[in-house]
Structure formats: structure tokens, C-alpha cells
């Protein structure tokens, strides 16, 4: 656990300014087997302390990799000087952020730093199983990965905190030769989630069934077809609706992007989806269960609560930091997060999800005469206009209410606030994903999820 060298420096916080001190350690562990050869075997650690000071409407920030009483004082001094420099040249005549009740938040988690051989031996067992059972694969890759963030936060105004956010996953990638001899690939996240590797993974054989299913899906895909291009009725599975929640809607309602001109600016309090659409960025508890990546306090010292973004199809809120919340007259919900000790907090998502509805998936499929059921993705991008593109790596045709042939890789696109208005069925089951990293100046672990959505999108075909 990070030693507390911060609390006793509070006396150095300047009056009339907001000050934050944060000590942070990030651990990353990774092992990669490619066709049985260990091509990745890396352990990294980044540790240090930073300070941020808000004065006259601008921020100063400084960080260093040294963590001592002297360096804590030095970064606070440097951050103050940087804020003063910018305030002199570009100050906005603003006072400090609104006062918040002081508080303290502590995460109880024993962060066990697992030995590298644990990762390697586990994926070797999985790789041996795959190599033995599926010799026709052109290529196979098995990856074990674990990362964690431990933060100690001390603020002049709000909640101090100690937080731990560990996660670990295994990825399996398989490639076979397709009908035309060209490679066809499919990957899957096998198990994992919040927690260190030793708590998430115990027996390799527990994952053989998932590996078999991956191979079976890949075989279907290799004999699959390209979808017919055009605007089609589709069912987006939970992984894709989660991607939609994050990429196509979530980013546009981050308040810094709203200030930068996103489509959410002129659409606040307007209809952006059918009345079946509800979307929330959850902090630590969703639908009565812990979120995939629970956040209890953000890096500005705001106690984390849920940010309700779309309610019954109406855009009702944004995700904010303290500065943007004051600007939009909203309540900050703890979305200011930093990835490394040397990163400043940015407005970030936490666990962003479309809420489940009442339809049964089988009824949704049965209601489509000619369309597609899209299940998995490897990539998603969206514009501040809400125009999105997702790569689709697995799915099926739907013909006359029944699933048909599997699909080869394709792409779907649309405009979020148009497409959400076409949602006419929402399933009653949620799927969450949390292995991804969101990119926005800094990377950030995020959760995303959703039910199956029946809607219309443009599908790429070939």
C-alpha cells in the first residue's frame, strides 16, 4: 500500500485555490504465446506523485517519479507556479470550485502482485489444449494480462481517498483458412474482470468449453458470408450495445466534448432515442450489483454517483468534472479520472450502459424477416456528431425470423441520435465488458454494457 506522505502537506494548500495531491502506482503484467512461442513476457510499474492547482479559472500541474516528503512539496510548488503563470496570461477571473463536504473513501482490496510464472503456466495450459485439439488452426495466440491502479488522493475541497482498481483477463485469438484460402480470425475474452489474476483464474480446464465455442464460431465464420450492404434491421448484441453506449453516445455527452462542440450541446432535454432507450454511466453499483470496474471517488475528490444520461429517450445530462458541472449548472458525479500519476484528471466514463428492457431475445429474432444479429466487435469509433462506426467480427443472418449463416468481418455505421430513435425492442438481459481501454489523450480502463437492441443501422457488406 502506498505510504501516506500527502495528508500532512495539506497545510501547504493555498487559500483561494483548489489543490490536489495524488500518489499513484500502476502495475501491468503481460504474457503472450503466439503459436506456442512466448513472444511477450513483460512486467511494468509506474509510480510517482502529482499536484494540481486551480486558480483564476486555469490549472497548473506537475509530477515527478520520486515520492518523498521533499518531492511532494516540490510538485505542489511547481503546480502553483504553473497555475500562476497561466492565470497571469489567460486567467478567467473565476474563484475556486464550489465547496464540497469533506469526506474519506477507502477501497478494501488486497492487491496481490502475482508472479510472472503464474500467468505463463496458465496460458501454456490453455495453449496446449488448443494446439492438441485444433491442429488445423493457421495461427493461435493466447494472452494473459493484468493491470491495476492504486491511488492515494488528498484534496483541499472534497473527499480524500485510497482506491485500488485491479483487473485481469485472458484473450484467445484463433485463425483458420477461409473458403478462398485467406485467413479468417476470431478472438474472445475468456473469463476475468475486476480483480487480480489469482482471484479470477484458478483452473485452466474451466475455460475449455469457452475455447471450444470460440473454435466452433470461427468454423462457422470461415464458411460465412458478407452481409448485403445497406440500411438494415439488426439486433445488436449486448457487447455491441455497450460499445454504442460508450463510443457513440458516451463520448458526445462528456462535458468537455460538449464544450468542444459535440452534438449533445443543442440536444439537451430533447428526444434523442425512442422511449425504450435509457442510458446511465454507473459509478460502483448497477442494477443491484457491483459494476465491472467500481469507482467510489474520482481524482478531484468528488464522491462518485451515477450519471443519468438518457431517460426514456430524452437526453437529460452530461458527464462532468467540477469545473464543467458549474458551467452547466449540473451536479458533478465523479467522472474526473487520471490514468497515471503524471496524468491530469479528464472527464472519463466509468461503467456506461444501455438499460435492459422487457423483450425476450428469441422474440426479437422472430420479429425480423430479413436482417442480422450482430454479436461481437473488435473496434469502435465515433464522431462528436454522433456518427459511429463499429467493426463487427461475428454475427448471423436473420431470415424469416430464424438465424441463418454466420457473417464474415463487416462494419456498421449510423448516427447515434438518429439510430436510437429506431430502437423498437430491448431485451431483458445485460452483458457487460470491461477489458477495454478507452483512448482520450490518456488511456483508461472502462466498463460498458447493454441488452440486445433491435434497430436499424447501415451495414457495410463488401
Amino acid at each position: 500500500m502506498i505510504q501516506d506522505l500527502l495528508t500532512d502537506k495539506k497545510y501547504l494548500f493555498a487559500s483561494g485555490a483548489n489543490s490536489e495531491l495524488r500518489a499513484q502506482r500502476n502495475l501491468n503484467r503481460r504474457a503472450v504465446l503466439l503459436n506456442g512461442a512466448l513472444v511477450g513476457n513483460v512486467r511494468t510499474e509506474q509510480f510517482g506523485v502529482s499536484a494540481r492547482v486551480y486558480e483564476n479559472g486555469v490549472y497548473g500541474f506537475s509530477s515527478t517519479a520520486e515520492y518523498t516528503d521533499e518531492t511532494v512539496k516540490a510538485v505542489l510548488q511547481a503546480a502553483s507556479e504553473n497555475a500562476a503563470f497561466l492565470a497571469r496570461h489567460a486567467g478567467k477571473g473565476k474563484g475556486p470550485h464550489k465547496a464540497m463536504a469533506p469526506g474519506s473513501s477507502r477501497t478494501a482490496y488486497d492487491l496481490n502482485d502475482v508472479e510472472q510464472r503464474t500467468y505463463i503456466e496458465f496460458i501454456q495450459a490453455l495453449d496446449s489444449y488448443i494446439a492438441g485439439k485444433y491442429p488445423d488452426l493457421v495461427s493461435r495466440t493466447v494472452i494473459a494480462t493484468a493491470d491495476s491502479m492504486e491511488k492515494l488522493l488528498c484534496v483541499s475541497n472534497g473527499t480524500d481517498g485510497h482506491s485500488v482498481l485491479p483487473r485481469s483477463y485472458i484473450y484467445v485469438v484463433m485463425t483458420v483458412a477461409g473458403a478462398d484460402g485467406k485467413p479468417v480470425e476470431l478472438f474472445k475474452v475468456i473469463g476475468g474482470g475486476y480483480g487480480t489474476f489469482d482471484r479470477n483464474f484458478s483452473k485452466p480446464e474451466s475455460y475449455y468449453a469457452e475455447i471450444d465455442k470460440l473454435y466452433e464460431d470461427l468454423r462457422q465464420k470461415a464458411e460465412g458470408v458478407y452481409p448485403e450492404a445497406g440500411n438494415k434491421t439488426v439486433i445488436l448484441g449486448g457487447i455491441l450495445s455497450g460499445m454504442l453506449a460508450h463510443e457513440a453516445v458516451g463520448h458526445t455527452v462528456e462535458a468537455d466534448l460538449v464544450l468542444g462542440g459535440s452534438v449533445a450541446g443543442p440536444n439537451l432535454n430533447k428526444r434523442v432515442g425512442s422511449e425504450l432507450v435509457n442510458l446511465v454511466d454507473y459509478a460502483h453499483t448497477a442494477l443491484g450489483k457491483p459494476t465491472p470496474l467500481p469507482i467510489y471517488v474520482d481524482d478531484e475528490g468528488t464522491a462518485a454517483t451515477d450519471a443519468v444520461l438518457i431517460k426514456d429517450g430524452i437526453l437529460v445530462g452530461y458527464m462532468n468534472n467540477r469545473e464543467s458541472a458549474e458551467r452547466f449548472n449540473m451536479v458533478p458525479t465523479g467522472n474526473a479520472r487520471a490514468y497515471l500519476f503524471s496524468d491530469e484528471p479528464l472527464i472519463r466514463m466509468r461503467n456506461t450502459a444501455v438499460l435492459p428492457g422487457t423483450s425476450k431475445l428469441e422474440d426479437m429474432i422472430a420479429s425480423i424477416d430479413d436482417g442480422y444479429y450482430l454479436l461481437d466487435t473488435n473496434n469502435g469509433q465515433a464522431d462528436t456528431t454522433g456518427e459511429f462506426m463499429f467493426g463487427v467480427t461475428f454475427g448471423y443472418e436473420i431470415k424469416k425470423g430464424k438465424l441463418g449463416r454466420a457473417l464474415l468481418d463487416t462494419t456498421i455505421s449510423g448516427v447515434a441520435f438518429d439510430m436510437l430513435k429506431t430502437v423498437d425492442m430491448v431485451s431483458d438481459e445485460m452483458i457487460w465488458a470491461s477489458s477495454g481501454m478507452c483512448g482520450k489523450k490518456q488511456p483508461m480502463p472502462v466498463g460498458m454494457g447493454g441488452p440486445a437492441l433491435k434497430c436499424r443501422v447501415t451495414i457495410g457488406g463488401r
Partner: protein
């Protein structure tokens, strides 16, 4: 400082050898960053960062392990050496792991190591004012302007000992254009430079990118689906060729055996007018790498030379394993040779096609198929650039595309990281809603 870093790197190598490594390497770096941020069109943040890096690699009995952290005091080096050997001990032996042999050690100095922070801030303000005056419809979502001073040393157990002291300025812009409630797609533009002598507006393609985006507020869709010519702007070409280098000519595609080019070294894979180099030593590249990750001196090389597959971009391990020559640098400093036709002449020759500024697509398949949305793009009709497009998809195959070259422009854009022309490819599927 540099001499101290070199000693630290050598000490780390010695610690690894003491811990049992047959072969050992250490990279040590100290970095100072000064950075100004503009958010939503207003200055928001000034930050200064002081960071360290230590990466240690051990090979013992053909087993390799790597650990990295941002401290390099004596105790950390000793503990990291043990952790590195523990990581290696868990691996299976592979005789193909190795490090660079010693050649001619050198201390490199490049760029502008010492920042002029006041002038940097002035250039930043000047750019903001220029944009406001000349491109009033542009809304600056984010501007990040920084100087980074990097001091680093690399040592290995064969006696390699390099140091580099470098400094560079970078400008990254993310913006869109607005008129009433109408908005363009966002677009990113940026450069790296080692000089503050010229206004940022004059560097790279910043000025043209701002102008293009102002013309993308009003958009139209294409109707139906047709096969046409795709003219790729230099910035977009970088992202397409990045995938090409990774999947076709890089370690991922070759070690997995999925690269369509795996057996085609020396053969024609592209139109003979295409020459694609990785050239960190090109004079237009700012602070390009001088040594590779494995300790070789970096050299420029052609991946595709006049349409022929000349070399793969492989590190030493992959080269040994595949029994192929290694790539002579690790960079993505792409330089594509210019053609002899101006971009205006290329556009004038096209009956129907698309001028693509940004490709928003899934990762191309390992077989080269790509499909995605053409963002920040314009229709080309009857030899003229037409309206900006929205909800328009493009698809094709990277390998096929390289053999369907219509033209390479005589103009190149140099942004300090790459030097790229416009390229026009026929036979691309373009479809609307």
C-alpha cells in the same frame, strides 16, 4: 546527466549478469515535459512533468524476461534484476532471442533539447489568434502544445553503449467547424518540430486541414453503391499504411503466418510507382530514432521499392525465428516517394470518386479486407472536388489496392513524423445509406 545515465545503464546490465543473465540489456531515460492545453477554445492547463524510465531485459538459457519501471536507484536496479530473471525463468527456451552486437558506440544529440517556454506559449497564442481570425467557424476542442526533453542511455552485455539527448516541440489539434446547430466531423492535425522559428500555422498540413474542415459543415450522402477512385490525403494514408506494415510486413502477420506477403520477399506486390520507406534518419523527420530497441544503430530502409517487396519490418527475434533479414529500424517514420503529377491534375483526371481525409474503420482483416466510414471526405465528380460527404462507406482490399494505383502526387506533406503524398487508387467500393 547523460554520463550518469550511461553509468546507470551499465550498472543495470551488470546487475542482470550478477543475477545470472547470459545476455542483458538496459534502457534508462529521464524526461522533462512542458505542456500547454487549450480546451473548448480556452487555455486550461500548464503542466511540467519529470519522469524516469528503466527497462531491463535478461536472456538466460534462451529464456527472456523484461521488467520496466520509473525508478533507477541502486535498490530498484537490484530488485528489478532479480524480478527480470524470475520472469525469464518462467519462459520456455527459444534460441532466437538475442541482442545487438557492439558496433561503433556514439552519443547522439538532436533537435532542441532546451525549451523556450515563453516563446512556445507565444506561438500557441499566435495560432489561436490566427485560427480565430482566418477560420472563424472552427471550434477548437483541444490543443496540446508541448516540449519534451529526453535524455536516454542504452547498454547491453555485448558492450553496446549509446546515449541520446534530444528535444522536440509538438502541436496536436482536435477541432470541428460549426455554423448554427450544424457541425462538421472532428478532425485531428499535428506536427512535431525542433524549431519555433515559424508560426505553427505554416507547419505540416495544419492550415489546409482547418480550411478543409470549414468546408465540411454542409454534407451530402452518396446514393447507392459504385466503384470509383479513392484519393487518400497524406494524413489518412498514414493510418492505412500503418495497418499494412503491421499485418503484411510486420512481426504480427509474419510470426502468426497470416500475412499475405509471407512468401513474397523480392516479388512485385504493388504498382512499380510505389516506394515506401521507414526512414528515421531522413532530414525531414524530427528526432527520429538513432538506435533500435535491440541496440542496433538505426538505418533507413525500403519496405516496398518500386513496387517490389524489399524488406520486412522485423525485430531481431522474429528475423532469427523466420530466418529472414531484420528490419533496419523500429520506427514508423514512413516516407513515400512522390510521383510526377500534381494533386490538382490527379483530381482533374477522375470521373467519379472520393477524396478521403480520415478513415474510421475496423482494424483491416489480416487478409487485407477493409471497410469503414469515409470521414472528413469530399465527393469527386467530373474532375472536380464536390460537396463534403457524410454516412459514406468505403471498402476494398489493401493488397489489391496497391496494384490499382492511379497516381501518386508530386506534393508531399512533412509533419516531422512522416513524409507522405496524396495517393489515388481505383476500384474502391463507395456506398451510401
Amino acid at each position: 546527466m547523460i554520463e550518469s545515465l550511461k553509468k546507470t545503464a551499465q550498472a543495470a546490465v551488470a546487475a542482470l549478469q550478477t543475477a545470472g543473465a547470459d545476455k542483458a540489456q538496459a534502457n534508462v531515460a529521464y524526461t522533462v515535459t512542458h505542456e500547454f492545453n487549450v480546451d473548448g477554445g480556452e487555455f486550461s492547463l500548464f503542466r511540467t512533468l519529470f519522469d524516469k524510465q528503466l527497462a531491463m531485459t535478461a536472456i538466460q538459457g534462451g529464456k527472456k524476461g523484461t521488467v520496466a519501471q520509473n525508478r533507477y536507484d541502486e535498490k530498484t536496479i537490484e530488485e528489478s534484476a532479480k524480478a527480470c530473471l524470475e520472469a525469464a525463468a518462467s519462459a520456455q527456451p527459444d534460441e532466437n532471442w538475442d541482442l545487438a552486437p557492439v558496433s561503433e558506440n556514439e552519443d547522439f544529440v538532436q533537435g532542441e533539447p532546451t525549451p523556450d517556454t515563453d516563446k512556445l506559449f507565444d506561438r500557441c497564442r499566435e495560432l489561436m489568434a490566427d485560427i480565430q481570425a482566418r477560420f472563424p467557424k472552427i471550434m477548437m476542442e483541444q490543443m496540446i502544445v508541448s516540449h519534451k526533453e529526453i535524455m536516454k542511455a542504452k547498454a547491453n552485455s555485448y558492450g553496446v553503449l549509446y546515449s541520446t539527448h534530444e528535444g522536440l516541440y509538438s502541436v496536436d489539434l482536435l477541432f470541428s467547424a460549426h455554423e448554427g446547430d450544424k457541425a462538421s466531423s472532428f478532425f485531428g492535425s499535428g506536427v512535431v518540430t525542433d524549431s519555433l522559428d515559424r508560426p505553427f500555422m505554416e507547419l505540416g498540413s495544419i492550415e489546409k486541414d482547418l480550411k478543409d474542415v470549414e468546408n465540411q459543415i454542409e454534407t451530402t450522402g452518396v446514393s447507392g453503391k459504385f466503384e470509383g477512385t479513392m484519393v487518400v490525403m497524406p494524413g489518412c494514408l498514414a493510418s492505412l499504411f500503418y495497418s499494412l506494415l503491421s499485418d503484411f510486413a510486420g512481426e504480427g502477420g509474419l510470426l502468426s503466418g497470416t500475412s499475405p506477403w509471407k512468401d513474397r520477399l523480392g516479388e512485385k506486390v504493388a504498382d512499380e510507382r510505389i516506394t515506401l520507406s521507414l526512414a528515421p534518419l531522413d532530414e525531414r523527420i524530427v528526432c527520429g530514432e538513432r538506435t533500435t530497441g535491440e541496440g542496433f544503430r538505426a538505418e533507413n530502409f525500403d519496405v516496398i521499392q518500386n513496387g517490389r517487396l524489399n524488406a520486412f519490418a522485423l525485430g531481431l527475434y522474429a528475423a532469427n525465428k523466420l530466418k529472414l533479414p531484420r528490419g533496419k529500424n523500429d520506427s514508423f517514420n514512413m516516407v513515400v516517394a512522390p510521383g510526377d503529377t500534381s494533386i490538382d491534375q490527379i483530381i482533374a483526371s477522375i470521373d467519379k470518386g472520393i477524396l478521403v481525409g480520415r478513415f474510421s474503420g475496423g482494424q483491416p482483416s489480416s487478409n487485407g479486407d477493409f471497410s469503414g466510414v469515409a470521414k472528413n471526405s469530399f465527393l469527386i465528380e467530373n474532375g472536380k472536388i464536390g460537396p463534403a460527404l457524410s454516412e459514406t462507406m468505403i471498402s476494398g482490399n489493401m493488397a489489391d489496392m496497391l496494384n490499382r494505383l492511379r497516381a501518386v502526387s508530386s506534393e508531399q506533406v512533412a509533419d516531422g513524423m512522416m513524409v507522405l503524398p496524396y495517393m489515388a487508387f481505383d476500384g474502391i467500393t463507395i456506398s451510401g445509406k
